[in-house]
Amino acid sequence: MNRREALRSLGALTASVTVAPYVGANQLKNVPLETALSEDSLPRPARVDGFSVLVEDSDRKTLAAAFDRLIPADDYGPSATEAGCLEFLDDQLAGDYGAGKALYLQAPLKPENEEALMGSPQFLATPKERYATGVKALEAYAQKAHGKAFADLSDDQIDEILTGLEAGDISLGDDVDGQAFFELMLQNVREGYLADPMYGGNRGMAGWKMVGFPGARYDYRPYIDRRGEDLGLIPVSLIPQD
């Protein structure tokens, strides 16, 4: 087993253990003797066993079409889906992020009041739920406006829809805030393009190469005095794809 597989199987191990992630209340005397990396803090690479949230082919096609206009293939690097951003999103939605575990989701939520105070719309729905409704609404909009599936629209047509969503000029119906859904997709697709490849996106470290970020390095003492120079550093991932 190489290092990557070893970490993967460790991640799978912790995921399948049935105890809660925390051991529960502890009374500590002295420094705990355990010095190995704790389960809570192990890196959690993306699953590689297929889609588990974006299970419908049609939904994936819609999202892929949108993502590849948000980050198209060009001289600066591959497209979002070529870089693995759909796999990244699926994995994120399948985990704590998708479930909104960190969010405060208690009612009441008065939409106008919260939007006015917070400067952007607030939700009781989790990211996973927002994708479920958002993708369907995108598809419905394409059918209504162009009589075609979203994935079958031309680049220009998709760009026009994305531009309209971004500006708040296009409505995706009463249940989905189109502008907020655009922001969610834009945030996640770029996360996928720029996060460590172990999360499923940024394949070949394409996003990092695009800007010149050397990745998961941890010691720049040999370089700090070489001010303003091209350091020619090849990016590295926490879990190299070898």
Partner: protein, 589 residues
């Protein structure tokens, strides 16, 4: 009540910076101390070694080290005539979680406040006359001076290993250091960090303009160091995964790196983790507390103690006082009551510039890595012809080049998606640099904290509610220093400026970046306007000490933690040197 634990001399609520510093001081004096922390045990080798730490998505974007809002959040409104709403998502409220608190994932800027910051009311009256405080009726002195604080600052710096170059040793001004700082007993424990490309450009520019640049004092230490507790630290590697991340190199000042290895070995210290304090419990006469009620594994318990120290971070300090019924809630109408009074924030702005032919290598960074001028901070410049008080530290910084965090920092007008974004980011990642103004914040009468009438935490206790917007003084200050930063950026050669003056629009937690929330249970010499006396002892319950930035009656143009740590040392010494042998108010009301 379910389970009552053996009585302690002192119980400490919250094991972040303030709690760890106090526990060390009190156990060294021989007291029996129980620390209670609602998060889990966390340490360098087990939780954030170099093989785990350089992961932006996990630690910065998803904020895995911070306290989730589902555990507890803050409700917020700008004015009393609005209905506050809960902050549901990650925002400027960045609370610590787990052993070490925010001290495990702070950036490390390690400032002493200016002499002026402790005595804004008195010194403003003296220099400019009473009318300069018009509209700022809640501005008040701290009840301690910089001179009182110096030994405690010194102690905390030695524990933390702070890197820097002193600008004022016992009155002798030293070029290259911060000549505006108050007199220090001695230089920093470790030398200043090195300059990145942008820092050296900034340093040269402000120097040419006649200002006084210096390297920011940092909890990113510059060389191997053994602190007075016998703990070893290693040199910072400029890894750029610092704020929001732990440090895998034992180079960032933190409870883990500096205090816990010694503290945990003391037999008179016990730490309860994953145990949340619900509130303190008062004796029947209401004059003192008999201990704290907590919840662990879904069951309630009681920890009796002679002294209760609340060190749960500024917001929770105030909330725990209110939930415990200690002191009177502040009322903005009558200005009566002290709990919740004098909340303030940090008035910030930034100017980003783009340099066509430079390579900034922004990934070489440290949480506290930067060059600053204090020429426009505090009262270091003449305000006679200005219509505000206060100012800001103006820094050229190199904290990180994390690609997700910086993906919108492109030349103004650049699209955020499509090939235009890709081309823009490829062009600007290496060529952008920023100046940050970290400014003072003055209290206002109608800004305060209380308990929210509607929203509750996971245990059914009310959330804290913040009523806040920028005041006129701080807005004018921000405009003034932002103009200075703009001049510097232009002079340095930055083009296509991207300016973010945060005080130019109504405050909201998603538009801000500073985690620095201040006040609400402030110290002072007058019990009608302060919750705590100058030893951070409650005026209302003499065995309760409340330590954190909650004690600051106004904010300096600096990050808060060195002042929090110094106040923690001072309060702990007052407890073991005086209070324990002679329990009662340390200061007559």
């Amino acid at each position: 009540m379910a389970k009552t634990l053996p009585k302690a001399d002192v119980v400490i609520v919250g094991m972040g910076w303030a709690g760890s510093v106090m526990a060390e001081e009190l156990t060294r004096a021989g007291l029996n101390v129980v620390g209670i922390e609602r998060g889990a045990w966390r340490d360098t080798s087990t939780d954030f070694p170099p093989a785990v730490d350089p992961d932006e998505l996990r630690w910065h974007t998803r904020r895995n080290m911070l306290q989730p809002m589902s555990v507890e959040t803050t409700t917020f409104r700008n004015r009393t005539d609005q209905t506050a709403a809960p902050v549901r998502n990650w925002s400027a409220f960045q609370y610590g979680w787990n052993v070490g608190g925010a001290g495990a994932h702070w950036a490390g800027m390690s400032w002493r406040f200016l002499e002026w910051d402790f005595q804004v009311a008195t010194k403003t009256r003296e220099r400019y006359g009473e009318e300069k405080l018009n509209g700022l009726e809640n501005v008040q002195d701290w009840g301690v001076t910089y001179k009182d604080m110096e030994p405690y600052y010194d102690r905390f710096e030695r524990i933390a290993g702070t890197s820097g170059y002193a600008g004022n040793i016992q009155g002798e001004k030293r070029p290259g250091g911060n000549i505006f700082e108050g007199p220090r007993k001695r230089d920093y424990p470790t030398p200043a960090l090195k300059d990145t490309h942008w820092m050296s450009m900034y340093r040269e520019t402000v120097n040419d303009m006649g200002y006084h640049p210096f390297t920011i004092p940092a909890g990113n230490i510059s060389q191997a160091y053994v602190n007075p507790l016998g703990v070893n630290m290693g040199p910072c590697t400029y890894c750029g995964f610092c704020d929001f991340h732990g440090c895998g190199n034992f180079s960032k000042s933190s409870p883990q790196a500096c205090i816990l290895p010694t503290l945990m070995r003391r037999p008179n210290f016990t730490l309860l983790t994953e145990t949340e304090v619900l509130h303190a419990v008062k004796h029947d006469d209401g004059k003192t507390a008999k201990g704290v009620k907590f919840i662990a594994n879904g069951e309630e318990g009681f920890q009796p103690a002679d002294v209760v120290c609340i060190t749960a971070y500024q917001m929770d300090n105030v909330r725990l006082m209110l939930l415990s019924g200690i002191g009177e809630q502040y009322d903005p109408q009558t200005r009566r009551g002290t709990i919740g009074r004098n909340y303030s924030y940090q008035t910030c702005s930034s100017v980003t510039g783009f340099f066509d032919n430079e390579r900034m290598n922004p990934f070489i960074g440290g949480g506290a890595l930067g060059v600053q001028i204090d020429d426009f901070n505090g009262d270091n410049f003449d305000h006679t012809d200005l219509d505000f008080i206060g100012g800001a530290g103006i820094m050229g910084y190199s904290t990180n080049g994390r690609p997700i965090q910086n993906m919108n920092g492109l030349r103004p007008g650049t699209k955020r998606w499509g090939s235009e974004w890709k081309a823009g980011y490829a062009r600007d990642y290496q060529t952008s640099a920023s100046i940050f103004c970290q400014g003072t914040s003055m209290p206002s009468r109608d800004v305060y904290l209380d308990l929210d009438p509607t929203y509750k935490d996971r245990h059914g206790q009310p959330l804290i509610r913040l009523t806040f917007d920028w005041n006129e003084n701080d807005k004018k200050m921000a405009n003034y220093v932002t103009d200075k930063a703009t001049e510097i950026m232009k002079r340095a050669g930055g083009k296509h400026l991207l300016t973010d003056n945060q005080a130019s629009r109504s405050w909201n937690p998603y538009m801000q970046h500073s985690s620095h929330t201040i006040g609400g249970a402030v110290m002072g010499a007058d019990p009608t306007t302060s919750a705590l006396n100058p030893y951070l002892q409650s005026w209302d319950a003499h065995n309760v000490f409340v330590v954190g930035a909650s004690a600051f009656p106004n904010n300096g143009g600096y990050n808060p933690t060195l002042t929090v740590g110094a106040l923690a040392v001072r309060a702990a010494q007052a407890i073991h040197q005086t209070y324990i042998n002679n329990p009662g108010p340390l200061v007559e009301a």
